[in-house]
Symmetry: C2
């Protein structure tokens, strides 16, 4: 059973977390691989996601160790100032398989000092400068859809989380399932184009 956690918080951008949710849900629906997807917030209270009210499945105390943690954006500048969120991401990251940022969720990854020198980083077009400020030695790439640093995968803005999630499905369960899920979602995922144009190689 793969455990996928999605961090949610006030003013989180809806598609930032619902895109990856849809992709990983279909690992089970389409691919028949058992998946648990948890939304996680600091407290066990409804989260106002820019007008969509979500009940988190776990707070930071009850959340188990995850295999994959998605950090969406939308209110990333607020998020980087939240010690509890920083502590949670730091605590999860050691034993995690993959940490995926979407949009300005990248800022929290940078603030948590998870971007080592030379790592390929990206975020929403409006967050690039702040990301570089928080991670001065990362290679901030404004023109990529997502980056792959092995454990840490970073997506561009909002809809890019769909592409990076499909890419991670490909890495973990194979290209055929990733293509089947894109087809089921009727999503125009040009895997070849992604591979050639978007992904920078894992750092040496």
């Amino acid at each position: 059973m793969t455990k996928v956690g999605i961090l949610i918080y006030p003013k989180v951008e809806v598609l930032d977390f619902c895109g990856p949710f849809e992709v990983f849900r279909n690992v089970e629906t389409v691919g028949k691989h058992p998946i648990s997807i948890y939304t996680i917030s600091e407290r066990n209270e409804p989260i106002d996601a820019q007008g969509l009210s979500i009940n988190p499945d776990h707070d930071f105390q009850t959340c188990p160790q995850l295999d994959i943690l998605i950090v969406p954006g939308g209110n990333g500048r607020w998020l980087v100032e939240q010690a509890a969120y920083l502590e949670f991401v730091t605590r999860q990251t050691d034993a995690i398989q993959h940490l995926v940022s979407v949009c300005t969720g990248a800022l929290l990854v940078a603030k948590a000092k998870l971007l080592e020198d030379g790592m390929a980083a990206t975020t929403h077009m409006e967050g690039m400068e702040y990301l570089q400020e928080l991670a001065p030695n990362a290679r901030v790439l404004p023109d990529v859809r997502f980056t792959d640093n092995g454990k840490i995968i970073m997506s561009g803005g909002i809809s890019a989380g769909i592409d990076s999630s499909l890419y991670l499905v490909k890495k973990l369960w194979g290209e055929q399932l990733a293509r089947q899920i894109a087809l089921y979602m009727e999503y125009d995922w040009n895997y070849t184009k992604s591979e050639q144009e978007y992904i920078r190689p894992v750092i040496d």
Copy 2:
């Protein structure tokens, strides 16, 4: 103030309703046009959207008359058997500006007898036959991204709701804003391609 309602129900597909939510939320965030977006369900209780727990903003009794109603899919075959949902959609439709189905949400639109003879209809690839059965005189088009019948707009599967929502933004607020929102979402919306390849003309 434009009132956008999104119907939710047990096992509703996450991206079916979160894609349109994201687009219409940005009519306000990006375009500065005031928008209210309500999730609506039969009862005022949390809805399990394939594992994502959503608190509806309105039930069928408290929901005001909407300008735009989004009917997502995911559990469309169950939905068409629900008299309360049928009644709600029928009641809203008379005074509504646009009714937008996404994925197998199309089945409810057909069941409510809203597809007149010759209307261009579409749905998820796996729902085409049942849609034709429910609306024998509609033109069911399996290869389009969405259709435009004036009041009634119908989208293909899951992610297609993003495209039809951007298209509706274009109709109501202009092409420039639709393009700005697609850019902000970093969504690869090829408007020209949509116009030429996907949209069938409004019926004569």
